[in-house]
Amino acid sequence: MQKRTMTVTWVATLATILILPALGRAQMPGQQSTSAKNDASAPADPHDLSGMWEFFNGVAGQGIYATPSKDHPPMTPWAKAKYDEAKPGYGPKAQAGGNDPILKCYPTGIPRLLFFPQPFEIVQTPQRLFMFFERDHAWRQIWTDGRAHPAAFEPTWIGDSVGKWDGDTFVVDTIGLTEKSWLDFYGDPHSDDIHLVERFKRVDHDTLTLQLVVEDPKAYTATWVGDTKIYKLLKGKKAYMDELPCIPEEEDTFTNRIRMPAAGQTPKQ
């Protein structure tokens, strides 16, 4: 009888010793233990999107980085005229000596900021989710306090964004994007009536997916559903945000020294 009691005591003690540390590490939303930070498969709070996220091509199923997707619905005549004027450096109409507004350091704008190889950082506060982009050192705010878009909103490069959770998917709704920006690297246009919906999901600790939907009847005859973009968490020494400013002289120098020679053109002196 005594032996069994001792055995039970030992088992209970051992079990308690093993369980206690796990209880001590009970996770608050938004917090990660050090070991979880380094374990890509470790569960993350799906409502915690914070971190530095980078588009990384070495991932199966990754969509194209430069545009919502390779194929898009037919353009309206209005959009086609704009597209015909565009001279992009990428995509089916790629050419040197182009007129991409970012060559002149116009703001990149939304959603194009999401299509850069440079990362963005997500920071969540009680009323807003912020995205800070390395490109342009630009940022956007997404209101999560339940408000609606303003009744009147002058179009800007970043637009007006509101977001809410649909299960584990963060759905961002954006309006008020100026038609001065190119939608993507390929010169695809959009109107300032565009209604952009982004669905973000943190599918595991190190992976954020995005699916973009473009509703812009003035520019496209049907809804444009983008492919799945995959962003990976930057960790350790790579987890920092640089500044990638656009300086007109640097862009011009680069155009003269690299872009134009690559296209067999003589730079202007």
């Binding site: 091509n57 450096g89 995509g91 190889p117 990638l244 300086i247 020679p261 690559a262």
Partner: protein, 129 residues
Amino acid sequence: MKTSRLNFLIAVTAILAFGIPVWAHHGNAAYDDKNPITIKGTVTEFAWVNPHVQIYLDVKDDKGKVAHWSVETYSPGKLVRAGWSKDVVKPGDLVSIILIPARNGSPVGFLHKMVLPNGKELALQELDI
């Protein structure tokens, strides 16, 4: 063949065989992204600037003729994550560069990998640093 050169060729062959996806990444139509080449030359300028870091080097062919190559790559911010710094090369250094060249035959290209004088390799994919 020297062991180091053999190792280099094996490495290059392995990279080509696995086709690192980043080669499809730079959608700039000016470059022939299906046919990377290797050049070896002396650095004349290393421009650690936005929007793209550039390396200029003189490449001598078998006949002693010098071609002035202009090579671009990512922004400094992205390169630092791949282990680069503004001091990785300087004028006078002898380097090998794997790049995708301009389709029109100009001595211009987009860098995928660089081998430094000390044999260290720098690429564009974030390495485990």
